[in-house]
């Protein structure tokens, strides 16, 4: 089991950032790497257990299930059901915390998963930088003051 942890500071209130990322079906609108997304079975996008089925711009298809969503703690947790990445037992959490000093947001995004030992470095880089940091960079651009 390896853990990948990425964190950043966004120049907007946690409420505003949360409104931007809370919708489990909204990846195409705020990340640079998702082409389109839908929730399977027509379920609401904030119903625990719902599955988002999305296509990356590079063509890969990923199915992820929402495990937890807290509007109180500004955090959501999800797992990967299917993906071309070669990971197992993948559970990730996106969490926002208000920075009271200056109305900013401390954003954390981490994942734990199993994979072939020789791929740990490559996947840690791909997920930590290619997904989480790329997501943060998009948020920073969206909320640039």
């Amino acid at each position: 089991m390896i853990k990948v942890y990425t964190s950043s500071v966004i120049d907007a209130s946690a409420e505003a950032v949360w409104a931007h990322v809370r919708d489990f079906n909204r990846l195409p609108q705020w990340t640079p790497f998702v082409a389109d997304s839908r929730i399977e079975g027509g379920q609401p996008a904030d119903k625990i257990g719902c599955v988002r089925n999305f296509r990356l711009k590079d063509g890969g298809v990923i199915r992820e299930q929402l495990l937890a969503l807290s509007d109180y703690d500004f955090q959501c947790t999800y797992s990967i059901l299917e993906s071309p990445m070669g990971v197992a037992n993948y559970v990730a959490t996106l969490k926002l915390t208000p920075v009271t000093d200056g109305t900013r947001t401390f954003a954390e995004w981490w994942a734990e998963f199993d994979c072939a030992p020789e791929r740990e470095g490559e996947l840690a880089q791909q997920i930590g930088q290619g997904v989480f940091q790329a997501g943060f960079d998009a948020l920073k651009a969206a909320f640039r003051r």
Binding site: T6, S7, S8, T97, V99, T100, D101
Partner: protein
């Protein structure tokens, strides 16, 4: 119950911020409303359960107890025991998290407490704004505080090699092989730090190295194991130091006899504000040696009898006063009456002037026939038989140096005569792990602060006169610590 939450982003790596905050008594250095603070009962300031007793600038007094401290999670929790303010059930938590995007630190500070009815707003503001937000501002100012040598952090960021001066061992031999040289301190690579030295410690090991007895360098090369100075710049991946930090180190490989040095940052520790550069340069190697010899190689207990050879030397004096502070009975050996007086001043209960190399009988006499429970021996081969004869039953011979000549082979059978133990420890093995190094350095600075260690810097030389320093040290004409000034 009132809950107060404040958080901020500090522009420094988490290791740097945590290295300050984990010290429960550090708030006097950075918090603007704290006037004076001390840890009660002389307990270490990172020990769970310790109590800080402090006075605020407005005169209020508070006692707070450290409840939890996690170096892994960067969390500490504490509570108020009593205060002249009407706050009850106050429990606060400080949590640090790394901002991986930019190598900064997220600092979360929250608490819950009760106050008399009607004063909730007043105290929520006092704690949230006065204590927490004021603390963030104070901490930022503390990190930016200007230093004497650089005139401020922004002043020094040369990303290229710097020329400097130093002293090299031109070939193995006597003091005359130490010659001045122009040197280059390269820009720090990954994991490196570049330090402008302000004081350099001289140690007996430097003489072994100069003579080629310890092959730790190949001439021409710079000797020297310890120094203090100011960080000029750091390489990538260095999280615990910032330009402008006052630092000290004692490490291998040699290379300290110079004005500016680039070395592995892992060996370098930030100096507390109350430890001056000269003391640090004189103390790092010898003081950390005393620390591990008295607490790790042998866990000295009150009531044990200690024999310290070269009791008036750089390490000897530190061993005498620290062993005395622990409550041991301290017997020293020295080479002259003047040195005997100095050793006595530093806590030795009995001092033997062992001019003929004989001391075992005198040790027995001084200890009512008991002998020494532990011998701290930097002499080496010449004292071997006398050491064996001076040890008490189940005694411990700690051979940490060999000023008089290398140890030869020893038959374990001679240890069996009185169930003796022999140790041949080396400081750099005890400090190889960063956490151990930090703990040993912290205890050493703390011992100086509390008077368990007393420095006696009587010999200062210009860096270019390093050969003179070696000559005096080898001729046994010095006492206490020697320092080179670059």
């Amino acid at each position: 119950m009132i809950k107060v939450v404040r958080s901020a982003v500090i522009d420094a790596p988490i290791e740097r911020v945590w290295s300050v905050l984990r010290d429960f008594n550090s708030h006097t250095a950075w918090h603007p409303v704290v006037a004076e603070s001390h840890i009660e009962r002389d307990e270490p300031s990172d020990q769970v359960g310790c109590v800080r007793n402090f006075t605020l600038r407005d005169g209020h007094q508070i006692r707070e107890q450290l409840l939890t401290l996690s170096d892994r999670d960067h969390v500490s929790t504490y509570c108020i025991l009593d205060a002249t303010l009407p706050m009850r059930r106050y429990v606060a938590t400080v949590t640090l998290k790394p901002v991986t995007d930019g190598n900064r630190t997220f600092w979360h500070w929250e608490s819950t407490f009760d106050v008399p009815r009607g004063r909730e707003r007043e105290f929520a503001d006092l704690v949230g704004n006065g204590v927490y937000e004021g603390g963030f501002a104070g901490f930022r100012a503390y990190l930016r505080r200007p230093t004497v040598a650089t005139g401020g952090r922004a002043a020094a960021r040369p990303a290229h090699a710097m020329s400097t001066h130093g002293v090299v061992v031109s070939r193995f031999g006597g003091p005359e092989v130490l010659v001045s040289a122009e040197l280059t301190a390269p820009a720090p690579g990954r994991g490196d730090v570049r330090v402008r030295h302000t004081a350099i410690g001289v140690n007996y090991i430097d003489i072994y190295v100069r003579r080629g007895e310890y092959r730790m360098l190949e001439p021409p090369a710079v000797p020297g194991m310890e120094a203090a100075g100011i960080v000029l710049d750091v390489g990538e991946g260095v999280a615990h130091l910032l330009p402008g930090d006052r630092v000290g180190y004692a490490c291998t490989p040699p290379g300290a006899y110079c004005g500016v040095r680039t070395l592995a940052a892992d060996a370098v520790v930030a100096l507390p504000d109350d430890i001056d550069d000269e003391s640090a340069a004189a103390l790092m190697l010898k003081g950390m040696t005393a620390e591990y010899l008295l607490h790790r190689t042998h866990r000295l207990r009150a009531g044990e009898t200690v024999l310290v050879h070269a009791a008036a030397g750089g390490v000897g004096l530190l061993l005498c006063c620290w062993a005395k502070a622990i409550g041991a009975r301290v017997v020293g050996t020295v080479g002259s009456d003047d040195k005997a007086r100095l050793a006595r001043e530093h806590g030795a209960d009995a001092v033997i002037v062992a001019t003929g190399g004989r001391f075992a009988d005198a040790v027995r006499d001084a200890t009512g026939g008991h002998g020494a429970d532990v011998i701290y021996d930097g002499l080496g081969a010449p004292a071997r038989d006398e050491n064996l004869a001076a040890l008490a039953m189940c005694g411990h011979w700690v051979a940490y140096g060999q000023a008089g000549g290398a140890h030869g082979a020893l038959d374990p059978g001679v240890l069996a005569e009185r169930s003796l133990t022999l140790s041949r420890p080396v400081l750099f093995h005890y400090t190889a792990e960063r956490a151990q190094l930090e703990a040993i350095a912290r205890n050493t600075f703390d011992a100086l602060r509390r008077g368990f260690l007393r420095l006696s810097i009587r010999h200062r030389y210009a860096l270019a006169a390093a050969a003179d320093a070696h000559r005096e040290l080898e001729a046994r004409r010095t006492t206490g610590q020697l320092v080179l000034m670059p």
